[in-house]
């Protein structure tokens, strides 16, 4: 069920971000948080297709344990994979009856406590570049109007990816997608390093990274690189900085 009263604030906040110099990875994380709040979904994730044709996990409102695995296994099977291939939303899927559709995905999703799943394509003209994925612990059903609202939020994610430059060239899309995917890897490495340095969970380490980035108005990926430089050994002859 969409909470309509939050929508104007969410769209205004995201539009404000898009006109500034912004960090794409942080923006996509914030977007998944917003989608979770607006839709009441328990976990919201975003996957992007790399240009090798593989769906890569990019950002999530709840990126731990079972949810993270569910976002990641959809590289081979699941609603994101279907919605990416057909470029159509996969909505109101009842996980209790999805065994034939997704024999590997559905049982895992149910074991993780989820009852409903939805996936919305990130569309760019006649192709899809990724998908937005919502999981519910109750059987959340979307009406037609609500499907349009969530699809609009998925479109905002697409716009953010394409926003930095005109996307008339395959070059710009490749730059943006590959750049975002590499940034995410840096952030994952920093989450791991920081969790050991501070003795906290990986999720808590991520929260620390995000608040440092916000506090210093720096890009999440730059803050992550600093963490890795500070916590690594002093000299690396191979130049891994």
């Amino acid at each position: 069920m969409i909470s309509v009263d939050q929508l104007p604030r969410v769209f205004v906040e995201m539009a404000d971000t898009l006109v500034d110099d912004f960090d794409l990875v942080e923006f996509l994380h914030t977007l998944t948080d917003h989608v979770a709040a607006v839709s009441g979904a328990e976990a919201v994730g975003l996957v992007l297709a790399d240009q090798r044709g593989s769906l890569q996990f990019m950002a999530a409102s709840n990126a731990s344990g079972a949810a993270l695995e569910l976002f990641q296994i959809q590289n081979s099977e699941g609603p994101c994979q279907d919605c990416f291939r057909t470029r159509q939303p996969v909505v109101n899927a009842d996980l209790g009856r999805a065994e034939t559709l997704w024999p590997a995905f559905a049982p895992r999703a149910r074991a993780a406590g989820f009852q409903s799943v939805h996936a919305f394509p990130m569309r760019l003209r006649d192709e899809a570049i990724g998908a937005l994925n919502l999981f519910g612990t109750s059987a959340v059903l979307f009406e037609t109007d609500e499907v349009r609202v969530v699809q609009a939020l998925a479109d905002v994610a697409t716009i953010a990816i394409l926003q930095e430059r005109s996307i008339s060239r395959a070059e710009a899309l490749t730059e943006q997608l590959q750049g975002a995917l590499l940034s995410r890897v840096v952030i994952e490495q920093a989450k791991g390093a920081l969790s050991r340095t501070l003795g906290v969970s990986v999720d808590e380490a991520f929260a620390v990274l995000r608040s440092r980035a916000r506090g210093s108005r720096r890009r999440l990926s730059d803050v992550a690189r600093d963490v890795l430089e500070d916590s690594g050994p002093p000299a690396d002859p191979r130049g891994g900085s």
Partner: protein, 189 residues
């Protein structure tokens, strides 16, 4: 191909090497930016690069190069080098060409990572593995860097060596480490 920010290590022909070296002589160009920013810098038409690299662009155009496609060779914060493709006579790379470049980037990255060996057992370079690497592998890599006080590349080498020696999937090993189902390995020394 370029590693570090210092010199060209391989090129498909001497003319390409000359243009690649030009970027280092001048201290600017798409490869330097790709290395510094950790993202591809793809310029199909150098003549329209809006003065981003004034000296490099005019020298490159003078030698017949009209496009540069520079891809960082990196695993997150581990920067290994840059693979750059140069085009001439206004030829540009389309989506399929760029896909092929990215596959070459995967292979080159894998080969460079394998050269980080410290003598521990290592699986054969499995390029396709990088397509399915999960977040936990990178998290475990960061954790191991801190736990063992080694570099990030060595942390990944150590993870792969353990997975290979025990005949288990890298993704599964990493998930066990991240969730605490398995203790961290001891330091070597």
């Amino acid at each position: 191909m370029t590693t570090g920010a210092e010199a060209s290590v391989a090129a498909s022909d001497p003319a390409v090497l000359a243009v690649a070296d030009l970027q280092f002589a001048l201290g600017e160009g798409p490869s330097a930016d790709a290395f510094a920013d950790g993202r591809p810098v793809l310029v199909g038409d150098l003549a329209r690069s809006d003065g981003r690299w004034m000296a490099f662009t005019s020298a490159a155009l003078a030698s017949g190069v009209t496009g540069v496609y520079a891809f960082p060779l990196a695993v997150g914060a581990v920067r290994l080098g840059v693979l750059a493709c140069y085009t001439h006579a206004g030829h540009t790379l389309d989506g399929d060409d760029l896909r092929h470049c990215l596959l070459a980037v995967d292979s080159a990255t894998e080969l460079l990572l394998s050269s980080t060996d410290d003598g521990s057992p290592r699986p054969d370079p499995a390029v396709e593995e990088s397509l399915t690497i999960r977040s936990e592998v990178y998290q475990a890599q960061g954790m191991l860097m801190v736990e063992l006080a080694v570099s990030l590349p060595d942390a990944l080498a150590r993870l792969r060596a353990i997975a290979f020696a025990e005949g288990i999937q890298l993704n599964d090993l990493a998930a066990d480490l991240v969730t605490g189902r398995r203790p961290f390995p001891e330091k070597d020394e």
